[in-house]
């Protein structure tokens, strides 16, 4: 399959480029990882040996030059070594990320799929009933899409967490800090996830609604839909025929949207103090923790690339035309 081979090739190249960008981040922006560490160790005596060890740790010892540092960075990556986080008590970056990733995946994954399904279904409905009052939903959903994520989150917290006190207003779980998998723990986690997930769904649902509705309106005028209608198929069947053809662009849009959704979720996490990657990333930026920052950025980029690749596969699987063209 040439199409897929080409796509995989593109993603491989993109991944290389992304790693390069990641490598360059601490080198092109003002400041120096070493200074950041030194700022953290105020009052302690820094010996020459320590300094030297730190330089090696950050790959900034000057003898190898930029190219050597770049190769060194790749070799570290190959060994799964992302360095140590200076702001989280010299813990390996991989450990920090491993702790944060499940929260983001759980929250963002669920919310994204939910918003996609709900938005697409609503889009189909609005297209089917065009010319009715449902058309007025479009500008309304636009408002939610245009409103900043965190503003919606503020409103949700103010209303549901403080005034009504239905849900907790932040963090991912209650005081029970031991992840024993039982119902108390699971319900606690769910309780904490509902509000952030809700804001993501409300804010990102509008895009799916409008996209699906626009394609659906166009598809409904196709001859085969008219034919299906004319030969008296039940309405549900006709909608199904039209919808499954109209959904293709939404799926290819899905791959593009993942990047936006991850970004939006960063803000949600920050507002709700949800201990996911976004929260960690902002902390890393504020603490000038270069290694952690690089690591998180790399993981996010790779996640987006993988999601895109998956969406491409699904698309080729769903749309036979893409297979033939290749």
């Amino acid at each position: 399959m040439r199409t897929l081979a080409r796509r995989i090739g593109f993603y491989l190249l993109t991944a290389v480029a992304a790693v390069t960008v990641d490598f360059l981040i601490p080198r092109v922006i003002p400041g120096n990882p070493l200074d950041a560490v030194l700022a953290h160790t105020q009052g302690q005596v820094i010996t020459k040996a320590t300094l030297r060890a730190l330089e090696v740790q950050f790959g900034t010892h000057s003898k190898t030059g930029q190219w050597g540092q770049y190769l060194h960075y790749w070799s570290n990556l190959a060994h799964g070594n992302l360095g140590v986080s200076t702001s989280e008590g010299m813990v390996p970056v991989t450990t920090v990320i491993r702790g944060a990733l499940p929260w983001t995946l759980g929250l963002v994954g669920t919310a994204t799929v939910l918003s996609f399904i709900l938005g697409t279904l609503l889009g189909i409905l609005i297209a089917w009933r065009r010319g009715t009052w449902l058309d007025n939903l479009l500008p309304a959903t636009t408002f939610f899409q245009a409103a900043p994520y965190f503003f919606l989150a503020f409103l949700a917290i103010d209303l549901f967490a403080i005034k009504l006190a239905w849900f907790p207003s932040g963090s991912a779980r209650g005081i029970l800090d031991f992840p024993a998998v039982n119902w108390t723990y699971i319900s606690d986690v769910l309780d904490h996830a509902i509000l952030p997930a809700l804001t993501i769904v409300v804010a990102s649902g509008a895009g799916w609604i409008v996209g699906m509705r626009n394609v659906m309106v166009t598809t409904m005028d196709e001859d085969y839909v008219l034919m299906a209608q004319a030969k008296g198929l039940p309405k549900r069947r006709v909608i199904w025929y039209a919808a499954r053809n109209a959904i293709l662009p939404s799926i290819s849009g899905f791959s593009l949207a993942i990047g936006f959704v991850v970004s939006g979720a960063l803000l949600t996490e920050i507002v709700f103090s949800y201990p996911g990657l976004g929260f960690v990333l902002l902390n890393a930026v504020q603490e000038a923790d270069y290694a952690l920052l690089q690591g998180v950025f790399l993981v996010i980029t790779m996640a987006v690339l993988l999601a895109n690749l998956a969406a491409d596969f699904v698309y080729v699987f769903l749309d036979p035309r893409t297979r033939q063209e290749a």
Binding site: G131, A146, F151
Partner: protein
């Protein structure tokens, strides 16, 4: 305007609109039609208000937004006669901050939109027109920027710009633009690809026009709606991104913007303590600014793809136009189109070129004294299946 049923299909000669030369009518419609839709009108009006606030806001603000009114009070004060929108934790006037913060927000967004649009035209149209290796390389660049997670990257960049130039609107707009041009470039490339092989471009090439002239005078004018749409989209993106960055405290906090106000609202714990006047005004302002842009974009969408527009033809409006025999609900396969002249419809001009835009116009003949009888007017219900097929550039045409 009049809407008839398909029985009146052939009775067009009495139609005033069809007497006009087609290109002229199309040209005039292009300019006049856009502002007519209520969505666009509302959007434009809202945007105008925001632009005015952006210009005069800092001058009409009742107080200096940074001025602290009380050294003793330590909680934000609720709205009162002296401070219509209350005060912040630092006892600054919220209304003044709102008025002063608009300029920076709007400026950054429009700089981002402008720069990104120029970038996307240069890269997208060049890629589409040049083809081959140039296309491959430029497409790859665009795709790379599309999959690169923008906000995390911007967070990283601004985390370190803050101390240096974080308060500079033009610079912020520029950096946002660099992450925001790729989508427009991709759409423009796809459309240029399809325009490149049209006969009129071929003939221009055979006549011996130079490449830049063909691009500038033959292709670019036909890309105008897409350029406008992608411009608005990028401005919208700029508003959201700038607000987000300021909200995260990554922009110089002494530089007033709506995102900055939200930042201070969070610092004050506004959402936890019920200080709604700290986050509702800037949040609503950003949301309305975004909504106004999206509404105009809806209008452009409907302008490009008339099916989306006629879908909004409500029965109330139809009845007002004196039509009784309209189906209760617009059914499958039959898109009600207000027909202007048979020539344009029968012409079946492919794509969304001037001819393809014909349906949906309001015929001057429809306002004839006495009101047109149903079925005898200039407009008909026709099936639009035929000439809208090639118009799915928006999504299907991508890639």
């Amino acid at each position: 305007m009049a809407i008839g049923t398909s029985t009146g299909l052939g009775s067009a000669p009495a139609d005033g609109a069809s007497l006009l030369p087609v290109p002229d009518a199309a040209g005039r419609r292009m300019r006049l039609q856009l502002p007519r839709s209520p969505k666009v009108l509302i959007g434009l009006a809202m945007l105008a208000v925001f632009l005015i606030v952006a210009v005069i806001g800092p001058w009409i603000a009742p107080y200096n937004p940074s001025r602290s009114f009380s050294a003793t009070a330590s909680f934000p004060q609720a709205p009162s006669a002296a401070h219509w929108l209350g005060t912040t934790q630092q006892q600054q006037d919220v209304l003044s901050q709102l008025l002063a913060g608009g300029r920076s927000t709007v400026l950054v967004a429009f700089v981002a939109g402008l720069v990104a649009t120029v970038l996307s035209i240069v890269i997208g149209v060049t890629a589409g027109y040049a083809g081959r290796l140039t296309d491959d390389l430029l497409s790859m660049l665009a795709n790379f920027f599309l999959v690169l997670p923008a906000l995390p990257l911007l967070i990283v960049i601004f985390g370190f710009l803050k101390t240096a130039q974080g308060g500079h609107d033009l610079l912020i707009g520029l950096v946002i633009a660099i992450t925001g041009w790729a989508w427009g470039a991709r759409v423009l490339r796809a459309q240029t690809l399809s325009l490149r092989n049209r006969d009129y471009v071929e003939s221009a090439r055979i006549v011996g026009e130079r490449g830049w002239r063909i691009i500038g005078f033959e292709i670019l004018p036909n890309l105008t709606p897409i350029v406008a749409s992608s411009f608005l989209f990028t401005v919208l993106y700029g508003v959201g991104t700038y607000t987000a960055l300021a909200f995260l405290g990554l922009v110089n906090p002494n530089h007033w913007s709506w995102g900055g106000m939200l930042f201070y609202a969070q610092v004050a714990g506004a959402e936890q303590s019920g200080y709604w006047w700290l986050f509702i005004p800037p949040g609503i302002a950003v949301a309305l600014l975004g909504t106004s842009l999206a509404l105009i974009n809806f209008g452009i969408d409907e302008f490009i793809n008339p099916r989306l527009r006629v879908a909004g033809l409500s029965r109330r409006r139809a009845r007002r136009a004196g039509v009784s025999g309209l189906p209760k609900r617009f059914v499958l396969g039959v898109t009600p189109v207000v027909r202007q002249d048979l020539a344009a419809a029968a012409d079946g001009t492919p794509g969304w070129g001037p001819g393809g835009r014909a349906p949906g116009g309001r015929a001057p003949g429809g306002r004839a004294p006495g009101g047109p009888a149903p079925g005898a007017g200039s407009a008909d219900l026709i099936s639009a299946s035929g000439h809208a097929k090639s118009r799915r550039w928006r999504r299907g045409g991508g890639q």
